[in-house]
């Protein structure tokens, strides 16, 4: 009776809780909107936003064939073929559907709110996934954890319109479908897995994680001797359909048949076919002959496969690992070979503090959940274990991959946490019924007492033995009446022959544990709110700082500069800047850029680095060759913004040196004592570099020529600042954060620009220089 009503309550409660979780997940991502405004954040989102606008305006086919001549000038970029279109198509679809129903929502708002909306869906898929592993209460916990875990929020706040925003949902949901497929062995779920895998491929480069984890799971199951038709059907469906679909994305193309990242999936597919074939043959051939056949077959296949692979990879048909991926395995690789990868802060390894910062309490409940998976160890638990170990490794190597670790941490911590709650909340009748139906040694359970009353009279006659039997039967009946999960638990407990379990006898120990755990949950919630509001909600194009009197100051220099460019330059103006700002400039200022965050052409980036780090004369040639009209730099020395170009300068130099080793030399920028200095001690090369000159041009005037202090590097600058002759200052924003320079035209009289500038300033030229001419 009680179970019936409680199940109705649960039926109502579960959706309510899930909806509440989704609301919490969405609203905790809205800090930046409330504080600032509905604006696209950071760098990459600006490109996604720009392409989405293009897609909405010009339609899908035009988007697919779009050649963007406004970036990577003069090379341009084939956008349709170099982009993961999933996120743009998703928001365009949402936009069009809303407009179809006459909701006039601006595409920008769709983009801004896309990631928070999908975080609600992610929480729901975490619920589904965990439900497959344990039960729905653990599922609810997992949904709640994943909804607010900072490790996921970091990439999905409102305005952070990036691939990861929808990709994490797809990741979790694809894994859920895969587990469902393996469990049921249905081709339908295998197909669904493939479809969502395709969606994932279209959305994020991290799909490689799925392509390797799923085959690994299948392979491990094979090794464990758990081959089944379910596995065969689900994997074959998934691989065949998923791979064919994934090849429809132009950016992926034929990679699934060529690159080593995809080889594991192909190999496991082949292995499964062979295994299935062997199983088939086994049915028709006597065992002894089968064994010899098997041995011969295995040897032949191994030899052929290794031979073929070697030939293929040496002949170049199979490409080696791509740089970004390779740097995951050989941790020293990127540092030496690809400075552009090493320069990105997302690609740095993860310190322990980041793990704790992003996951707090979950981080130590997570291994406990993995342990519980080992105890159960059904097919789906094997998957979670593999996922845990590998995601932990990858998250340790690269900060960015914390994102793939977070879902499994939430799922497995939820399993651990809900097991704890189960143990300490279970009512005695439940525990007794489920744990000791056969061994009736302890005092009988209340549920049991009712039933045997009828049996007692019978028992008197039949003796003690029968009474025990009846009691056992009644207990079994009671066990049946409790919910299915408990039954499964009891079954597995009995089946694995575990030691007997007792309830928690004392109320105080129950209370102690439950209250303490609840307190931990509160702390977790506070932590998540604190981290989200403090660290992950800054749009980074609008900055906020506190003034001395405690009032907030909004620093909006970036948009100021971009709008200046938009309004004051001719339409096809080419603006050079370091690649970090390429997407923002294209998106906000609508100008042509030389390099941007796509970083596909290292040489072009190095050329920009060279222009920044060489002297005016050398640099001017580069600028002219690339038709540059304006140069944009970031300078934080006035307000102490540490992410400015002088601090990034070393990377520009390094990247430039990689391509132009004879023209740019890193060592020349260091003082003899090996320091990176910008003040009086700065080296000659440093002082003559274009970047230095642009940054500190007229900087001393700001301080009346006296104590000019660079607040980022705490350096006292010389009173006599650098002079510029090939550039002229075009615009400097309110807080000096962005400075824009116009590249001068060639001199009308054919003079050197240096001379003409000197002449304009009315300086008397040296006689010697006149004589020479």
């Amino acid at each position: 009776m009680s179970t019936e009503s409680s199940s109705t309550v649960a039926r109502v409660l579960k959706p309510t809780i899930l909806i509440l979780i989704a609301i919490v997940a969405i609203s905790s991502r809205l800090f930046s909107i409330i504080r600032f405004e509905s604006v696209i954040h950071e760098f990459d989102p600006w490109f996604n936003y720009r392409t989405t606008q293009h897609l909405v305006k010009n339609g899908f086919y035009d988007f697919w064939n779009w050649f963007d001549e406004k970036s990577w000038y003069p090379l341009g970029r084939v956008v349709g073929g170099t982009v993961y279109p999933g996120i743009m198509v998703t928001s365009a679809l949402i936009h069009n559907v809303l407009h179809f129903f006459n909701f006039p929502v601006d595409i920008r708002n769709v983009c801004v709110f896309l990631a928070p909306m999908f975080s609600g869906l992610t929480a729901f898929s975490a619920y589904l996934l965990t439900k497959e592993l344990k039960d729905s209460s653990a599922g609810l916990l997992a949904a709640a954890f994943l909804g607010v875990a900072p490790g996921y929020i970091s990439r999905s706040v409102a305005g952070s319109y990036d691939n990861e925003g929808i990709a994490i949902f797809l990741l979790v949901f694809t894994f859920y479908l895969w587990i469902k497929a393996v469990k049921t062995g249905s081709a339908f779920f295998g197909l669904l897995t493939a479809l969502f895998y395709f969606y994932m491929v279209s959305a994020w480069g991290g799909y490689v994680f799925i392509t390797n984890l799923v085959p690994l799971h299948a392979f491990t199951l094979l090794l464990m001797g758990r081959y089944s038709n379910r596995l065969y059907v689900s994997y074959s469906t998934f691989y065949a359909v998923g791979t064919l679909l994934s090849m429809q994305i132009p950016f992926v193309g034929f990679q699934p048949t060529r690159t080593s990242e995809h080889m594991a999936a192909l190999g496991v597919f082949g292995l499964l076919q062979l295994y299935a074939f062997a199983e088939l043959v086994r049915g028709y051939i006597p065992p002894k002959q089968f064994r010899t056949l098997l041995k011969g077959g295995v040897a032949a296949v191994a030899v052929i496969a290794s031979f073929g692979l070697t030939i293929l990879s040496f002949s170049g048909v199979i490409a080696p690992f791509t740089g970004r991926f390779y740097s995951l395995y050989d941790t020293g690789y990127a540092k030496i070979h690809i400075p552009i990868i090493a320069s990105v802060s997302e690609h740095q390894p993860t310190a322990w503090t980041s793990f704790f910062f992003d996951l707090q309490m979950l981080i130590f409940l997570f291994p406990a959940g993995v342990y519980l998976c080992f105890k159960e160890l059904k097919d789906e638990h094997v998957f979670i274990i593999l996922y845990s170990v590998f995601a932990s490794y990858f998250a340790g190597v690269m900060v960015r991959l914390m994102l793939t670790l977070t879902p499994v941490v939430c799922v497995s911590a939820a399993i651990a946490y809900s097991t704890l709650l189960d143990t300490y909340l279970e009512t005695s009748e439940h525990v007794l019924a489920s744990t000791k139906p056969v061994i009736v040694a302890a005092p009988p359970a209340p549920a049991v007492i009712e039933a045997p009353t009828a049996a007692t009279s019978e028992a008197k006659a039949a003796g003690k033995k029968a009474a025990a039997k009846a009691a056992a039967a009644a207990a079994a009946a009671a066990a049946k009446s409790t919910d299915a999960d408990a039954k499964a638990q009891a079954k597995s407990a009995v089946a694995s022959g575990e030691k007997k379990r007792f309830p928690i006898f004392n109320l105080d120990s129950r209370l102690l544990v439950i209250l303490q755990l609840t307190w931990f949950l509160f702390m977790f919630a506070w932590h998540c709110t604190y981290v989200t509001s403090g660290s992950y909600s800054s749009p980074s194009i609008v900055l906020a700082s506190r003034q001395h009197d405690g009032s907030q100051m909004i620093i909006d220099d970036f948009r100021e500069a971009y709008y200046w460019l938009r309004k004051n330059t001719k339409e096809d103006a080419k603006v050079m800047s370091w690649w970090d700002y390429g997407y923002q400039m294209a998106g906000m200022a609508n100008v042509t850029t030389l390099v941007d965050n796509n970083t596909w052409n290292n040489t072009h980036i190095a050329t920009v680095g060279k222009a920044m780090s060489t002297s005016e004369e050398v640099s001017y040639k580069v600028l002219r060759q690339h038709d540059v009209d304006y140069v944009l730099i970031l300078f934080g020395g006035v307000i102490g913004y540490s992410g400015d170009d002088i601090n990034k300068f070393l990377w520009m130099i390094r990247i430039a040196e990689g391509v132009y080793p004879n023209e740019v030399k890193e060592t020349n920028f260091f003082t003899p004592r090996g320091e990176y200095k910008v003040d009086h001690d700065a080296t000659k090369t440093m002082r003559e570099s274009l970047m230095y000159k642009m940054s500190y041009y007229r900087f001393a005037e700001l301080y009346g020529g006296g104590n000019a202090v660079d607040h980022v590097r705490n350096a006292r600058m010389p009173a006599e600042g650098p002079t510029l002759s090939v550039l002229e200052e075009a615009y400097t924003t309110e807080n000096w954060l962005v400075r824009i320079y116009k590249v001068k035209d060639l001199d009308n009289l054919g003079r050197d620009l240096k001379d003409s500038t000197a002449f304009d300033k009315g300086r008397v030229r040296k006689v010697s220089s006149l004589k020479k001419k």
Binding site: M224, T331, G332, K335, I336, Q348, P349, T350, A351, W352, T353, F355, F356, F357, M361, I363, F364, L365, F366, P367, A368, V370, Y371, F374, K375, L377, S388, V389, S392, Y393, A395, G396, V397, A416, T419, L420, D422, T423, Y424, K499, K500, R501, F502, P503, I504, F505, N506, S509, L512, V513, Q516, M523, W526, H527, Y530, P661, N662, K665, E666, T667
Partner: protein
């Protein structure tokens, strides 16, 4: 007539004298030109002779260094500043030495052996040069390009060990990029490593075979795999990969009240620090596991209560320690549990 003769003789004399003079002038100029080329040629042949004797390496001291680098010279020079003697305890010097010699050995394979030379200057024999170049750490590797004009300022390139590493191959490509030569590195076939590899491979195979046939139980034991998985997870989530990549010191002597095992800065850590964190995680996780699987196995209510209190105490204290630890790294973190 006689006068005339005299005059003739005089004329003859002057002509001869002039001829002699011009001859003299021309010879002196040619000899001076020859001497510069001679000096260079002599230097080159001397260096070549030295280098061929010792597999491409020229051991330098202060005098020899100045001599070899004196201008003009038409060859470039690579000099390794090192401190190989045991009293300096320079481990990287020792590690790099064989790699350097490997590249220098590649010198003997290039066709034109007069363009570049490889020198080694040990601190013991070349202190004054070390001082002249303001060198206070070893090994340092400088490349001096060829320079014909004597008045050109001493320009050189410094090889960045931090960026390019200690490998002979990367060093060789660095040299090649600057000199335009093609010096290749041929590692001698390492029989010891090869046989070790073979033995290791055979050993692994044998072990695998043994485990497969006899130790099937061991390899199929889920407890073994659980231990391996949990261990690696603990290691990874406590920042071990960061240590692998960044090579931080294990710990530092404590300074101004800051304990020596905590590295300053949020994105920085010491080896010992991560181990402490890993152990903390392990204890906390162990507490959670025993709360859910060991405690329900205790039959006596009072013992069970005691165990619950003990484990809950451990968890609470360790969690507080963890948060305290985190606050030491991030002083603005506002939360605390016990302390």
């Amino acid at each position: 007539m006689g006068r005339l003769r005299i005059g003739r003789a005089r004329l003859f004399f002057t002509v001869v004298l002039m001829a002699l003079f011009t001859l003299l002038i021309t010879t002196t100029t040619t000899t001076s030109a020859q001497t510069t080329a001679d000096i260079i040629a002599k230097k080159v042949s001397k260096l070549q002779a030295k280098a061929t004797k010792t597999k491409g390496i020229i051991e330098l001291d202060s005098l020899a260094f100045d001599d070899a680098l004196a201008k003009p010279r038409n060859y470039s020079m690579v000099v390794l500043f090192t401190a190989i003697s045991p009293e300096f305890q320079c481990v990287p010097c020792k590690n790099f030495d064989p790699e350097y010699r490997l590249v220098a050995a590649g010198w003997s394979r290039i066709p034109d052996k007069s363009q570049i030379f490889f020198g080694i200057l040990d601190f013991k024999s070349g202190q004054s040069v070390f001082q002249k170049f303001n060198m206070n750490s070893a090994p340092s590797l400088l490349y001096f390009p060829a320079s014909d004009s004597p008045e050109a300022s001493p320009s050189f390139d410094r090889y960045d060990f931090g960026k390019s590493g200690f490998q002979a191959e990367s060093f060789a490509s660095w040299i090649n990029a600057r000199s335009g030569l093609k010096i290749d590195v041929q590692r001698p076939f390492d029989f010891v490593a090869f046989s070790l590899n073979i033995m290791g491979f055979a050993g692994t195979l044998g072990l695998a075979h043994f485990l497969y046939t006899r130790g099937g139980k061991v390899i199929r034991s889920k407890y073994l795999w659980a231990a391996i998985s949990l261990f690696s997870i603990f290691i990874f989530i406590s920042g071990h990969m960061w240590n692998q990549i960044r090579h931080p010191p294990y710990s530092m002597p404590s300074r101004d009240g800051r304990p020596g095992f905590i590295a300053p800065g949020f994105q920085n850590q010491f080896g010992l620090e991560t181990q402490i964190v890993a152990i903390t995680y392990a204890v906390l996780c162990g507490g959670a596991i025993s709360l859910m699987s060991s405690i329900p196995r205790i039959e006596s209510p009072s013992k069970q209560r005691l165990a619950v209190i003990i484990w809950m105490g451990i968890i609470t204290v360790m969690y507080s320690v963890l948060i305290l630890f985190f606050r030491a790294k991030n002083p603005s973190y506002p939360f605390r549990l016990l302390f």
